[in-house]
């Protein structure tokens, strides 16, 4: 085929200067935040002694403070809405380790799922949503921990935008004034999976189920380690420090085998808009590029991830693919659910695995869990609720 005729030269970006600067390191973000605080522009929410923080190494080799105690839980829409065992397992782990947390009602979604799906928002709105949530955590006196990978990544984008653009800060400050809230940004943006990673040896110390016969593949969340990459956690002991250590570190600590596969770096196919209204793409990508590759190359008993959309997409996409005789059938759950099961959590009352799609029974048997008995116990709780004997299942019922 002959090339199409060029009828004129494309316009040139004559005025643009490609002024390429290295990205800020995580330490520089903090310096800039503290400088703005000194100038009276905002309040930096610091990690205090009450948080009993530990330091983890980031991609750029800096130390990131991860609070362990007195944490404010910025929940995730998809986790709470569609896979509730995810959030429940996080809270259960904290309670088991004897730590304190706050599960706020004065928290909204970060709204980034909507923003990446529909673009019905803008920089000022997104920054104001972030700052309003962070101001609430500051007023409540707990340090924020973010459950969703997209919230985590997006809040780092917001941080970068606020640091770069005084006019954006001015706009957000006016909105906070109108809402009667202070202009607050936290010293660190921390993902819950970093808390799990920091606690992996404490979790392993309380392990009551043997995971040595379990092989797991790991799917790292794009918005954790690709979107503003600087403060994702890496560890020289894992993958030679070339990939994020999150999730894989936990699997190793629990004595299970981490199996590698060739599309480790690939996205899950979530797509934000696609998973809700154009799922043919999400299903195809999740099954062909991720699940089938894992099956062929590692044949794992479970695949673990650390974000809302990844659990949903990798799990739910397998039903339709199975109908087409594709090589699928890998249970999918979060690192928090996996850790909770290792520590003896109930598979249905705590980990709520009945909200997941792929059959978990063979995996539960490998873990030494009598899933039939466990399901009967859950159904008894549900019966009591339905009969009006109890209004809700409580932590004590678990």
């Amino acid at each position: 085929m002959s090339p199409l005729p060029i009828v004129h030269e494309p316009t040139k970006a004559k005025d643009r200067v490609f002024d390429r600067k290295p990205p800020l390191t995580d330490a520089e973000y903090k310096e800039k935040l503290f400088a703005l605080e000194e100038q009276g522009e905002l309040i930096v929410h610091r990690i205090g002694e009450a948080q009993k923080a530990v330091e983890l190494e980031t991609k750029t080799g800096h130390k990131k403070k991860v609070p362990l105690d007195n944490t404010w839980h910025h929940k995730s829409c998809g986790q709470c809405g569609h896979i509730p065992g995810y959030s429940t397992a996080i809270f259960w782990l904290i309670r088991q380790l004897g730590l304190t947390y706050h599960d706020p009602r004065d928290q909204t979604s970060c709204t980034a799922w909507n923003y990446y799906a529909s673009a019905t928002s803008n920089a000022a709105a997104q920054a104001a949503v972030a700052v309003r949530n962070f101001a609430q955590a500051y007023e409540d006196g707990y340090f924020p921990i973010v459950h969703c990978g997209t919230s985590f990544g997006h809040y780092k984008e917001v941080r970068e935008e606020l640091l770069h653009h005084p006019e954006l800060r001015a706009q957000v400050r006016k909105i906070m004034d109108a809402l009667g809230k202070p202009m607050v940004f936290p010293e660190e943006i921390v993902h819950y999976s970093e808390w799990v990673h920091a606690q992996r040896h404490a979790i392993a110390g309380r392990q009551v189920r043997d995971f040595s016969s379990i092989t797991a593949t790991v799917h790292p969340a794009c918005h954790y380690h690709k979107l503003v990459v600087e403060d994702a956690v890496y560890d020289r002991e894992l993958y030679d420090g070339q990939r994020t250590a999150i999730v894989s570190g936990l699997v190793k600590a629990l004595g299970a085998k981490v199996a590698d596969y060739s599309t480790w770096h690939d996205c899950c196919g979530f797509g934000f808009r696609h998973i809700l209204v154009s799922r043919d793409f999400s299903r195809s990508f999740a099954t062909i590029r991720k699940i089938e590759r894992m099956k062929e190359e590692a044949d794992p008993d479970v695949t673990l991830t650390h974000d809302t959309g990844c659990v949903t997409t990798l799990d739910k996409s397998q039903f339709a693919a199975k109908a087409h005789n594709r090589n699928v059938g890998i249970p999918v759950m979060s690192d928090a659910q996996f850790a909770a099961l290792a520590m003896g959590a109930h598979p249905y009352k705590v980990c709520q695995l009945h909200w997941h799609g792929v059959d978990m029974k063979p995996l539960l048997e490998l873990m030494g869990i009598d899933h039939q008995a466990a399901w009967t116990e859950f159904e008894e709780q549900a019966r009591r609720i339905e009969a009006g004997e109890i209004e809700y299942m409580t932590w004590e019922d678990c």
């Binding site: 005729p5 609720i385 019922d397």
Partner: protein
Amino acid sequence: MEPIYADAKYQEVPYAEKKRLFDEVKADLRFETQLYGCYECGICVAACPSARFYDFSPRVFAQVVSREDVHTFYELLNDSVWDCSQCFSCTCCPRQNNPGGVITLMREVAVNNGLKSAKDALKAYSRIIYKIMSTGTQVAPDMLQPDFFPDWGPDVQQVSANLDVWRRAIPPETMHTVELAWDVSEKTRLELYLIWKLTGNLEMIENIDEGLFMILEEVMEELLEEHGYDLEEIESVVE
């Protein structure tokens, strides 16, 4: 100015209109930190999930927008921009480009201008916009219905049939909800709505779905009034 190719699409759209839209993208304060040239190495394409299943390339976006080819920009704005997965795998670019970020800005311009292609792409999505803007959570348990997720298998039917009881059989108190992902206080939901209002987001909704905008505004502003918010006073603080 003529289009680049003799058979280029959208030749009926005047150059000035395409340029106006392109200039709106360039005017965004984030634009200057999205593109730094292109090696044409294709690493972004190799990393891109959408490139595997659509006629879509993050490299094309980076190059077309960098060289300010407004005709092809307009074509991408209408034909490709909604195919992006927004995973930001393309940020592995060795030139530190962010094609996914450029696409976010282009989508905002498409919505702000009520482009038909944007309306079509978001047609089935309106109910989600209503959910996030009125409740403060993006998805909720009551969305797990077989007619919305028929491809997710019989588990969705199970969840849907047992929804109320199963939600109450979750230990955290904030999650005993059906219409929201968690229990967001009314005050907080109204604060979120005020953020949408004060940042011009409601106009964006109006551009894309006027009916949705009217319902949202009516429901939420009635709530604001009930709770004693004075919108004029609040807007005066921002101005």
